[in-house]
Homo-oligomer: 288 residues x 2
Amino acid sequence: MLYLIGLGLGDAADITVKGLQAVKSCSRVYLEAYTSILTVGKEALEEFYGKPLILADRDLVEQGADEILKDADVTDVAFLVVGDPFGATTHSDLVLRAVNAGIPYKVIHNASIMNAVGCCGLQLYNFGETVSLVFWTDTWKPESFYDKICKNRSAGLHTLCLLDIKVKEQSVENMMRGRKIYEPPRYMTVSQAADQLIQIVQRRREEGEELGMTEDTVCVGVARLGADDQKICAATLRQLVSCDLGGPLHSLVITGRLHPLEVDMLKVNAEPNALEHLQMIDSSTYYS
Amino acid sequence: MLYLIGLGLGDAADITVKGLQAVKSCSRVYLEAYTSILTVGKEALEEFYGKPLILADRDLVEQGADEILKDADVTDVAFLVVGDPFGATTHSDLVLRAVNAGIPYKVIHNASIMNAVGCCGLQLYNFGETVSLVFWTDTWKPESFYDKICKNRSAGLHTLCLLDIKVKEQSVENMMRGRKIYEPPRYMTVSQAADQLIQIVQRRREEGEELGMTEDTVCVGVARLGADDQKICAATLRQLVSCDLGGPLHSLVITGRLHPLEVDMLKVNAEPNALEHLQMIDSSTYYS
């Protein structure tokens, strides 16, 4: 049996009782380590489970699936994923390979940012399409996520922005020379994401485009959701640029039309300077 | 401290280790019992936790919040919610009351249908706005969800349809006579939901409207997600009308534009008769 087990969002104790039982029963346990991270590392998980873990990077999952699935028809193998196994990313390919090899699989679900973001006070059924923000380079500055955000907003919907993670990336030089030397991991912050968005807003304004959002749009920065030191910060996009929410992972929500109850919840986590904007929304009952 | 604890989707063992520890530490534990259900009842949970549970129906949560929050500043109180505390519904009101009373609160997240639905093989970031289907009555047949589905589809997005739950409902006669006699609980099935949708499609067709979906649109019926006997059934809307997925809870997904990997995953769970449609999609690489 192949178990795909969600670890939730915070630390080792966020695994479900069912998931922990499965981990303990497995002869090999892989930890997927490139689409998300917990606030604790591999060692803390190994201690909690009482088991050694095998780190599964992108290469192993995408090219070494046979190794992961080896003997899984006669023994139990666990594949651990931060959040939910089918959360922000998909491990459909591994499942399909198991199915094709006649290996039964079982999913043990857990929270992911896709549903846990509801704790910021915005109602999940008022969210539109989720978007991803990637680190811009000198030559590659995609903006398509901005248009999706505006489309959601024009329908009154909020947008969850998943922020880029770069793990085990090689510099161009090292890649060309075939040197397996990796850059330190990078995790996009709410501040960086807000800065990217503002650059787009400014560029579009200069081009005379009608703007679907501005620097004053109310947004919510979320950091380490589900951990003891999680931070939720409601503020304008401009304010979020200078907001330090601490260590990874971060996510950003761009609000759409706000329900009064949502405004009340945002106030609980508002930057003092953002409160004024939320009061304004309160009296206008519409989004800025 | 007020703990809002998600129970996940299947049975008692789907609570997280952190959630179970919190339940054990609380002096009172409420079980929210009107927006969702597990496949096991209150007694199974009580046995698993080694604690008595207080059932919290809509009246208690909406009108008796003071009772739930009583002494929560000096003792620990848990409020258990199937799925995630901020999943398909919101318990923002209870949180706001706690905040206003100076009671700290903590959320322990879990899977909800909003993210676990990803296990059907459709990628979560390809979903648009979630909709709710309610039981129609002779005089009230709302159709607004249909227009939202079509809007999602025109943007290529899938739609998760949450299906109605009627718990502790009174008949009009009993309500008027003030008799606290309740009807048996009702849970909308995938078959009933598909039938409603087809009625709308047919009516709109008769009115000459351009259709955003048809009886041949590929949909996915999902039942008891996360439980050992979960069922996932990919089929056309018409086929789903005669599909019996067993006991509650059910959800329905209307697909938008399908990625080849999504088609492959749907085939794993396809009705034999639906396979033909999925092969067609495969070759056209577009949705029907």
